[in-house]
Symmetry: D2
Subunit: 139 residues, 4 copies
């Protein structure tokens, strides 16, 4: 199912996230995208935390990121996260990051899989999650 | 130019690199691949550090990673890094990570760009680097 | 000079900051305290970023932290930072972190030193910083 | 009980561990000391991992670190870890870090507590751990 649920959140590049090039280290973006999807799910109406409390985990299967321009220390970044697809047990997110001057810093996508904590096997998303996400289905 | 220079290095998953799923956090792999390419370049004969000292940086433009199986705390991982292509100012690396049981944990690729530290513009790689890498060119 | 300038800021524990105990990893608090002092200096009227742009760095000399109770994933923490002392070239900060239930999570202190970026030697803080901080001197 | 069990291990400063000062970020040392104590315990004869598998966790209660000289990118650091004291449920470690030129980079100490995973309460260390550690007791 194709979905179009978008949410934006802001965060500031921390000093410890820079590297000696003076840029935000490329490895730290994974945390930024995680913040983006966690806040998108909170806005959707189901926190990632509550999923885990019900025995469902969402590990990442695939992550692809383009670095368009450097983010630098103390930049306030806007992460826009789109929940874009639910296909069986897999949930996909698309992201863009812009800085305060609306310059494009990065685009990315991740695919996660619903996993049962006990069996450690893929599992369909819970019905209430499907209900929430279906409200944002696009044909 | 297509290249086939391969090098393997080992590292252990640190406690601080796990997350509450009990897995190595997906965002920490970027550092593992960086360790892989740094050690591959050292083996090739030119450290990344020496490039920076000559005013050349190598920021990452593109990073794609597949998570095949979880890495867990204290696992000793083997990262195999292949320098796979030099195309103008861009250098590409392919990676695989396996654990002690030779189970495939992850595959990934990154594309980096040679940048002049002063102009902050893409720049051709230095001749001695091209000489080194050309010895591993495949037709 | 003893100082009493206090500022509070909030942040949320990221998934990637937890470890397999299910707690925020002890090493991640250093970044939280850094966020605390960066925001305290912004509130005081001089960003850490602007200091660096003027050729002054503030590396940490000493860091001590007590972990009183675990912070867990998705907790919204309040970091209260007190700029507590300026002694020659050294600037000290005290911190407390509480969670949403006002439970004490951590206390800490850091001592930083003003360093000239070119000479890499300790240097007195700039006069405008001393002026700002003096307004909060306590006898 | 005062203990004197010492072990040294080496690691290299990763690029992603530097910050824009060009130093290893102060917050990353916590991971280095963790590597130090994990390897010290492996050498002692009981891995931290095996303790967790038996339902015992070792969260950090107190951490103090002095930064004596900067560690920089690609430095090979030697971390010397001393298991220094077992007092009831609390285990203390002392650390020093030197670089390749034997320059002192940092000294630190941590106190950890044995905790039962189910009750989340402090618990005495297991007997086999006490036996191992007692062999290194000093008067």
């Amino acid at each position: 199912m194709k979905i179009n649920f978008e949410h934006s959140t802001k965060l500031r590049v921390r000093y410890g996230e820079t590297d000696q090039m003076g840029y935000c280290y490329y490895g730290n973006y994974a945390q930024y995208f995680e913040v983006g999807r966690v806040e998108a799910m909170r806005e959707l109406g189901m926190t990632y935390k509550s999923l885990e409390e019900r025995g469902i985990m969402l590990p990442v299967l695939h992550f692809e990121v383009y670095y368009k321009a450097p983010a630098i220390y103390d930049d306030e970044l806007t992460i826009t996260t789109k929940i874009s697809e639910l296909e069986g047990t897999r949930l996909s997110f698309d992201y863009t990051i812009v800085n305060e001057n609306d310059k494009l810093i990065s685009t990315a996508k991740t695919t996660l899989v619903f996993v049962n904590k006990d069996s450690m096997r893929p599992t369909p998303p819970p019905n209430d999650f499907i209900n929430l996400i279906s409200q944002h289905e696009i044909e």
